[in-house]
Symmetry: C2
DNA sequence: CTTGACATTGACCGGTGGGTCAATGATGTT
DNA sequence: AACATCATTGACCCACCGGTCAATGTCAAG
């Protein structure tokens, strides 16, 4: 029964949400206008009316997704940490630990990543999002290098931020591929041990890996 | 004109090679039996005769690909390096620097990675390959931790190998996504600076990032 | 009440892709 | 020479997908 119902962007939003649900189930490859329409309880034609094409829908979904995917922000607990190095590590730790809970989104994100290899618009969106992420890490990295220039001789804040972002992305990859076996704690501990001066920076040898000696904000 | 021609696995091999060429052009999504057949100069039916289904073809292609994708092996030049730390770094460096040249394969690999998220067989193959890779890194990691236990207190060889592999995979991701802007040198320099003791281990401040102070085997 | 804008539908189309299959002919065997 | 084998073909089927479009019902404005 044709006719006005949700004239504004409600429909767009509803369709996008439906598209997300479908994509989470079927991946981007399996995302068809048909399925989305069915999931949203509307007709196939309406999807094309609102998004023009399947491609338009995909791009819109990506932007919709990126808008509401959290960016690395240090919270108060982290800002209270004594050393800038530990502050950076704490942010990394929190984001990496959050990955398993966001698995659906992360998977989808990689779908888009692959798609971006051939799709300029998608690629641009993803790059922008990653740049934002890396930029959010940058001030933390800056503090690290300025706090102890001798230790990080020749290391730039940009480089450090990039590597930190890369580390997190690498972990994301592992989480998607092998969630059971990927040991978040082990990776983080290793990173910590790598970055920390041996012996110096009064850290007690806190025993078993898996429990870190520095406090980390829980994510409720 | 039907009839025997290359009765053995020649045809399989030929079709797989064709499939690889098509996949390199069109990605996994665009890989159709039609295209592969055309590329191989055979009929579509033959593809199904040899591989049963598109899925069978994809799995066969993945295995074919993984078989002939090189695994991190340290060569003589690297084994000659004085410290185990530098040996590990040299291997990482060589593999990361090789990534841009292998871009096609890397892209394809990520296609399979994404596919593996939903495809148990593919997932198993990829996991196995990654395990092999990580295991190849492990002895190097072992040397590192045993050589300087104080510095890497609480750090396990497994963890180090995993993180090293993760770092390389993260770089691969960047290479695929943003080959122009991803600065291989910067990432490697940063990693080096992170891992190296500040001030100690007599490294001259070698000036501009991009030129590393330690020797690296070229890849001819 | 009429009118016009417009979201919405459902039927429809052309293309394509995975998959099947009977027919065919080259090859090795008896 | 006759036969069995089997790789190989090409036509064919069906499902589905992206996309179009005229028709229609609804709403707000005049």
């Amino acid at each position: 029964m044709p006719g006005h119902k949700a004239p504004e962007d409600e429909r767009r939003e509803a369709i996008l949400k439906a598209a997300f649900r479908v994509a989470a189930r079927e991946r981007l490859t399996g995302l068809t206008a048909q399925q989305v329409a069915a999931e949203a309880g509307v007709s196939k034609g309406l999807v094309f009316f609102h998004f023009g094409s399947r491609d338009g829908l995909l791009v819109a979904l990506l932007d919709w997704l990126l808008e509401r995917t959290l960016v690395a922000q240090s919270d108060e607990a982290m800002r209270a940490l004594p050393s800038p190095q530990e502050r950076l590590l704490a942010v990394i730790r929190r984001d990496v630990e959050a990955l398993p809970r966001q698995r659906e989104r992360v998977e989808l994100f990689f779908d888009y990543w692959v798609m971006g290899t051939r799709h300029p618009t998608v690629r641009a969106s993803i790059r922008a999002a990653l740049d934002r992420y890396r930029d959010a890490l940058r001030p933390l990295a800056e503090d690290v290098v300025t706090a102890d220039p001798a230790r990080y001789e020749g290391l730039s804040a940009d480089g450090l931020a990039a590597v930190a972002a890369g580390f997190i992305e690498g972990c994301a990859l592992q989480v998607v591929m092998d969630p059971e076996r990927f040991d978040v704690g082990q990776s983080l501990d290793t990173l910590h041990a790598l970055v920390t001066h041996g012996g110096r920076a009064g850290m007690a040898s806190a025993g078993a890996s898996g429990s870190l000696p520095f406090p980390v904000a829980g994510t409720p």
